[in-house]
Point group: C2
Chain length 246, copies 2
DNA sequence: CCAAAAGTGTTAGGAGTACACCCATGA
DNA sequence: TCATGGGTGTACTCCTAACACTTTTGG
């Protein structure tokens, strides 16, 4: 056991990636030996944190070590620390023994991150660590380690909540995007379908979504106008508005 | 150091209490000896957690031990674990030494709670522990231990966010309340003033806020009709609605 | 010329906002 | 009878929701 690590506090990352069609989550494949057969299962990227690093720093470091991802949007979720979280599944117990994990109790502090996966800005996934993008809809059928299924569900709920009131959709898009992509994000994440005209009317009232003098290229249909999100304008405008819903 | 305690993970509670005029927060007064004078400062109720209890359990236990409060609404916030959070103020360092606190690093998991403080349902504060209700507006002038000021600010922000979309106001009210009290909560917490007629119109559309055949008693003005919040009706209704704001 | 997605306007209903006076009670 | 907060309606504006056809490009 590395002396630099706090033995009972970890971070985990729920990295959401949007590929212009699906919302995906980044999982690490494991092959664990259990009852003399090799079983495949999945976990969230994560690890113990060090004595000499802040939580955010730890989360960034571990994500980079395990996946190569850097400089992406990141937000802390609530901690998960139930007594039995590491030992709910017998496979997990035998895995912990196999890696010589000494601790009876680990409290984990999950983060969620957002990233765009479209063809241009190729993602620099470090494949030696077995990281894979999985459609979020498929995850519920997969065996996930520990309480990672629960963490993922919580992360998705939080993403939905934050997406309602914060300009997070743009973290899932390339810097220049057509409006149909923006709409798709809301449709996929909230599992609804939205009216194109009403959506665009709504967007056109938001001055921080700026039309560019550029169009998509290389598509076999009428090319869409590209837009960008202006953080500056957004912050200048969002010092007004009161509104509540009980 | 108690062997039953995890040495580097604590919980803290931000307990908000509404007294029909102000939003208050529960703080514990400390007298610390620093540079040969006794100084008064304040901290959030909190302590290290035990190896054999879940986070929520720990939070409930510690809140009860320190204040006598039980069975109140409680919600976990994000963890605070920066490297210097215990040693930003020299007073805190000398206090930690005085209580023989061994740990260089403690990550705390804060919770916020909501409670009603009106005269009827007298609160059972255990005064031996020096717990006091302080108006939230006054807290920024008080010396708070560690990063507790920061935790409090985050808790208040979170309370505001959740109050926009969840029926939390009722946790701050007695079970039967006049509409003016409900309005006051939004006005105090969001620091706005709302139009009485418009507020009441909005409320009358919410079927889960139910008018009772009862009136206030003992007030020296026209007595107000009392209302209650129906959790049942609320949950039956809130399985609809899509709406987002970027 | 076909397939595919982009782009565009109108109408009707509901929600939000601004605003001023009378009512019921206890002291 | 006075002081105090309770209680009520209307008109205007703005946002939302429903709905179908034409345009531009590549193949």
């Amino acid at each position: 056991m590395d002396k630099q690590l706090i033995p009972n506090v970890s971070v985990d990352s729920v990295v959401f990636g949007f590929d212009s069609v699906h919302l995906n989550v980044l999982l690490i494949g494991r092959n664990i030996l259990y009852k003399k057969t090799v079983q495949r299962d999945w976990k969230l990227p994560g690890d113990l944190i060090r004595w000499d690093e802040d939580l955010d720093t730890a989360s960034k470091r571990i994500l980079k070590e395990l996946t190569g991802l850097q400089n992406i949007y990141m937000n802390q979720l609530k901690a998960f620390g139930s007594l039995d979280r590491l030992i709910r599944r017998p496979q997990d117990m035998s895995w912990l023994i196999s890696i010589d994990h000494p601790e009876r109790r680990v409290i984990t502090i999950p983060y969620y991150s957002l990233i765009n996966l479209s063809k241009n800005g190729q993602i620099n996934l470090d494949l030696t660590t077995n990281a894979h993008w999985v459609h979020v809809d498929d995850v519920s059928h997969l065996p996930l380690a520990f309480d990672h299924q629960e963490i993922l569900v919580f992360a998705l709920e939080t993403l939905r909540n934050e997406l309602r009131t914060k300009p997070l959709a743009f973290e899932l898009l390339p810097s220049k995007f057509p409006l149909s992509q923006l709409q798709k994000i809301y449709e996929v994440i909230f599992e609804v379908s939205l009216d194109k005209r009403n959506f665009r009317k709504k967007i056109s009232n938001l001055n921080y979504i700026v039309a560019l003098n550029e169009k998509e290229a290389g598509v076999s249909h009428r090319p869409a106008k590209l837009f960008m999100f202006s953080k500056d304008i957004y912050h200048r405008l969002k010092t007004e508005n009161f509104d509540f819903t009980i």
